[in-house]
Subunit: 141 residues, 2 copies
């Protein structure tokens, strides 16, 4: 099972908005053509990013614009904004048998390690900012 592509779509959209936004009006249609998904998917993504205070989206006249500084946006912020995962990354089987010594204690034994693993992933995402990606991108353009 994988983490939804909403995440990479969101990162892609933000890069487009922050890098190309000075030159073009960044409509959902334009972004959709860069990401290559349906415009409605982009609108849903932008809606989440707007709710997270990362960008602003103008209804009516159209176009998405930056709100937060790219230095202050980490991959983790984006990942959280688009809700890839609610709560725990690892699914746990429900109702282990409390009559069994293993079933009774499986959560006590396993939960902290699962949390640690998830935290390791998320900390790594926290260490990369949108500004970092923009620097890498500007070298390639």
């Amino acid at each position: 099972m994988k983490i939804t592509s909403r995440f990479t779509v969101a990162v892609h959209s933000l890069l487009a908005i922050y890098v190309l936004g000075k030159e073009y009006k960044m409509t959902s249609d334009l972004i959709a053509s860069s990401v290559n998904v349906n415009p409605v998917v982009i609108r849903r993504t932008l809606s989440s990013l707007k709710a997270a205070g990362i960008i602003d989206v103008k209804a009516g006249s159209g176009g998405a614009t930056p709100v937060k500084s790219a230095d202050d946006i980490t991959l983790y912020d984006i990942y959280k904004a688009v809700d890839c995962i609610e709560g725990n990354l690892f699914n746990f089987h429900e109702n282990p048998n409390p009559e069994c010594p293993v079933g009774k204690n499986i959560h006590a034994v396993l939960d902290s390690h699962l949390k640690d693993a998830q935290a390791a992933l998320e900390n790594e995402l926290k260490s990369v900012t949108l500004a970092d990606l923009m620097k890498q991108l500007n070298i390639l353009i």
Copy 2:
């Protein structure tokens, strides 16, 4: 999106086999009653763990038994054995537009960071062995 409960089911099953195996014949029915899932789910799980060389399962007479030492089994080994994730943890949107400067370079910019995040998760899982869990469990029993 979450990582399938096959993983926690597998860990639970192994703990049962390694801790209770001296006292009981660990059939899929018995393990199933501890984990509280259908016995066929356990048989599939045990089948994966057997293929990974972690346990042995006797067809006919029945019962699962340890093969590898608990010290040599990490959570990562189990996670790999039951195939929670094939390849990349993060789904990437297909076919970003190569005509667009962002679309053309999004993989170059993003891939390494996604790999790093996944590696952080997996390294954390590598740092915990089944023996560690057994120690914790034996204190609680």
